[in-house]
Structure formats: C-alpha cells, structure tokens
Subunit: 322 residues, 2 copies
C-alpha cells in the first residue's frame, strides 16, 4: 500500500499522516510507503514505514505528472488556496484549485493503475441560497470562488470515476475546529482562533455576530472520516462521488459558552468582538445546516459535543500558555 | 448593440441569428452588428444590419482573445462538442466544452466592458440519480462527460458573474426537437430523426424503447427563450445564473402518435425500431421530468403541444419529400 498525501504539509494532511502511521495499514494492506507533498516540502512524520517529503505545486502540470508517475494506490488531494485568499486573488485560486485539481485528475487518467483518490471539497460549495437544511441532492451554489473551484472538482471527480480514470471519493469538509498552530487565510480561521488563542493565553478577535452558525467537525473525526473514505468501496458512492461529511451546527455563542465551561471566565475574557464585513459576508453565505445522510449510512462519524472538541485540542494540540 | 454568437453555424445559433435579424433590436437597442463564429466560418444570414462570419475554435485561447477584443454587448456561447461525441472522445469534449468555455469567460474577464453572456447548458447536466422531478435547486449529477463539462460551465458562469467579469445567464436547454438538416453526433439526435426523416420521405431508426421519456422544446420556443434571457436583468437570476428552460415531458410513443395524427400511417411506417445500447444508456441517464419554476416566473415560454411542433417544422424547415 503506497499512499500520497497532496497537501501533506497542511494541518489536516499532517494529522492524517500521523493517523496512518499509527494504523500501519489502509484498505487491509500494510502501508509500505507514505509520501507527503506540499508547496513547501513537508516535515516528515515518524512512522513504522518509509515516509518521503516532496515539494509540489499542483498548478505545475509536469511536476504533478512526475510525482504521480510512481504508481500510488491511494492519493489524498487536500491541497488548496483557501477561501479568503481565493476570494482576494482570483487567479491564484483558479490556478491551484481549478487547474491543480484538473492536473491531478489528468495525471491519474494517464496511468495504467487506477488509484483511489480522496478529494477534499468543502461546505463552502453550498450556500444559503438554497432550501435549508442542505440535503445530499441539493445543488452546490457556492458564493465564493473557492467554493466554486471546489464544486468544479466534485463534478470532475464524478466523471473521471465513472470513466474509470480514478476511483474517486470526495468529502465536503465542515469547518474543522479547533485547528492547531497559527491563523491562516481561510475566512473560517477565526472559528479556531477564538478557542485556541485564549487557551494559549493570547487575545483573539471574533469578527462576526455571536449568533452566526457554523457547520463544524473536529480534527479527530475529520481525519477518521478521511481514512474511512479511502477504505469503503467506491461503488457505494454511486454516480455522486462526493458527500457531505457529518458535522454539528453550532453558534459562535455556544462555542464561547463551551469555552467558558471548559476553561473559565478569564480565558473567555481574552476574546474581543469587532465585526469584519468581508469575513462576515463570506461566512454568512455558507450553509450551516446540512444533512449528511449518505455519509452516516456509510458509517462515517459525527461530532456531538463541542466541549469534548475543546478538551481534545487541549490534550493533543495546545501550546501551553506562555 | 453588437452581438456575437459563438456556435453561430449550428442549427440553434442560425435560428437565433435569423430571429435577431427579424427583431432588429435587443435589450431595447438597435442591432448594429451581428457576428457569427463557429469552427467552420458560418454562412451569413440576411439582416438589416451588418453580419460578419468568423472561423473560431474556442479551445484556441489566442483566437478567442482576438475575437473578443472587439467589445461585444451580448455574447451567446452555444458552441459544444455534443453528447455522444464527448462520450466517445473524452479529450475532445474537455478541450472544447471545458477549456473552450473557460477561454470565453477568461477573455471576457480581461475586457473593461462587461458583456451579457448567454450560455447554453443542457438538460444532460441533470440525471435520474436524484429525486424526480428535478427542481431548480436539485444538484446537477451528470452521467456523461458532456453533461459534466456543461455543469462545470454553469458553476464558472456564476462565479464570473458574481465577480462582475460577465453578466451571465445560463439556460439548460431541453432536447430541441424537431431539428432540421442531417442527424448529428448528439445521443438525442434520433428524437428529431424519427419525425424529420419520415416527413421528408426517408426511413428513420428509433434506437430506444418507445416508453422512453424525453424533456423537449421546439426550436421556436428555445430561440425565443434565448432572446429573452439576454433581455432580462441579470440580477433577476440571483447567484444561480443558469436555469432550466421550460420543456414538455413526452414519450417516444406519444411523439410517434402525434406524427401519425399529423402525417398519417404511411409516414409513420418509415420509422424502424432497433435498440442501440449506447444511446439507450446515455438517454436513460437524462432526467425527463423537470420543474422550470424560475424560468416560468421570469416569463420564459413553454411548448404545450407536440403536434404543433411537427406542424411548425413542416411549415418552416422541412425539405419536401423527394
């Protein structure tokens, strides 16, 4: 079992690599090689099998072809220019999210060996323009360029799978909270910051009204579901290879209330409130109420308890307060 | 008012040009120039304004840029590699339908002047994989590469419109029946052949069971709706710029019954029946039951009577029997 994680330097990619290292197997086979690729060569993870690291710009077609020329059994495509960045820089988003995904699919098409391809789409593919809650058969009506580019990838994944070029499985990721590390250019970044920074003794800014809802999942459940998506049989997904991963709908207010319950009033006091219209507009356009019937029927997991998500973060990812 | 019809050599493009020539105006302005572009330079139509003809391969980005460098007020994008051809030749379909549409959008993005862009999508973007009838908010789950490529264009049209690069309006065309002329490589071609050829004294083959349903519209109503789509205000379409044009759901059996009613038993006798599994599979994957509530609310037209469609064909397009 040879696995390639494109976007392996990102936080989800890294957690996925660690999970695979712990499991040692995928699809019933012992992992023989794990490759991590990202714009900057990722730090390797420690594992009971060889792990290699590769610098890769997925918009660079020859580079994609070269890395995929080594036949991989399972490829994770988690690489993206994130939402606020793709909104601010249209060309950068098209280059990586639109053409990068196309390049990966095309490189797979030209291989004799058909890989399992797990594609990370996003809840940003859905919007509040359509009847809520969003069901598995609701149209993707993204209100951002990022969401558009992700939704295009979903369509291509279906067709490349139908034709047998890849054995595709796509996951519309909920907003993943609590992300470790530093804030990034995702419009959703603050959903983690308002929990992470206060726990680490730093101030955080909440740029939206606390009544704002979000569809979120923990890193633990998200990574488990990405593993499961590689393990199921692709035919179980039918002609629509991408599904919404299960998430929980929660308001910012309830998130902050959970932070208070877990860490106390003083920690909560580190959260300041100041609206950012650009972030508000993007986030307000995302559906926060989804049904994930297909994913649940396939045995994928769901978070139920935001306090547990906070405690998981404190146990595994928190940098101790200075 | 300067208008460009890309795909102006096709049957719908040509009928649209003739309609515009008859109207003389669009969006309340006198038409000053109509350009017809297609792979092979189209025959001009006679009109009370200058009509030019251009050879254009939309997969050729510099050629698209050059033609669009002359600022057009309204651009119709009707060019496509059709369904059975895109299914048989994946690369050709991607080249024209995926990259060609992208090239047109990109050329528009680089203009200062924002054109109205009317984009022809297809009922093939929908499938029978989703709850029927297909509503305006149902996911596009195409089961062909053609449908996939068309659905990708819909997503891009939304985003390019949201960003103000184009003022886009997309139309999911029903199967247009009765097409004049010769059969083409569309899997839907036989829906016209089984009416057209017998009326013209020639045999025709029906490759599907007569119980097969189809979502169809006449050339007259389709062209009228394409004109209307250019005339409405783009904001009326909201964030989802493509809508399903109104059609009628009819079985092949009812189509043939209408042919008998209009033209008699002898004409009907020219239709032979012999199943073609490839055509059957493609056609069976298309939804034949759609709602077109958005289009009807915007005042777009609907066919009600298939016998009238046959009589219209006989009056305007039929080649007299040899």
């Amino acid at each position: 079992m040879r696995i390639l994680i494109i976007g392996g330097g990102g936080f989800v990619g890294r957690k996925l690599a660690e999970r695979l290292a712990g499991n040692g197997t995928l699809r019933g086979e012992t992992i023989a090689h794990l490759a991590l690729a990202d714009l900057a060569e990722p730090e390797p993870v420690s594992a009971p099998f060889p792990v290699t690291a590769h610098a890769l710009d997925i918009a660079d077609r020859p580079a994609v072809d070269a890395l995929l020329a080594s036949d991989w059994d399972v490829i994770y495509h988690l690489a993206a220019v994130v939402s606020a960045q793709a909104e601010a820089d249209f060309v950068a988003g098209m280059r990586t999210n639109f053409f990068g995904t196309f390049n990966i699919l095309e490189a797979c098409r030209e291989r004799v060996h058909t890989p399992v391809l797990v594609y990370a789409s996003s809840v940003a593919a859905y919007s509040t323009d359509v009847p809520q809650p969003v069901a598995d058969w609701t149209a993707t009506t993204p209100q951002t360029s990022y969401g558009t580019q992700k939704a295009v990838g979903e369509l291509l994944l279906n067709d490349y799978s139908r034709r047998g070029f890849v054995d595709g499985r796509g996951a519309r990721l909920p907003t993943v909270v609590v992300r470790p590390g530093a804030p990034n250019a995702a419009a959703s970044s603050f959903f983690s910051s308002i929990i992470r920074e206060p726990l680490q003794g730093e101030p955080a800014m909440c740029p939206v009204d606390v009544s704002q809802e979000v569809w979120l999942a923990s890193p633990r459940v998200t990574v488990g579901n990405l593993v499961s998506l590689a393990e199921i049989e692709g035919e179980a997904l039918g002609g629509m290879r991408t599904l919404s991963l299960p998430g929980m709908t929660i308001t910012v207010e309830a998130m902050l209330e959970a932070l208070r319950a877990v860490a106390g009033e003083n920690v909560l006091g580190l959260v300041d409130h100041g609206r950012d219209p650009k972030i508000e507009e993007i986030v307000r356009g995302w559906s926060a109420r989804l049904e994930a019937d297909r994913a649940l029927a396939l045995g994928l997991e769901r978070d139920e308890d935001f306090e547990r998500i906070i405690r998981d973060f404190m146990a595994t990812d928190m940098r101790p307060p200075a």
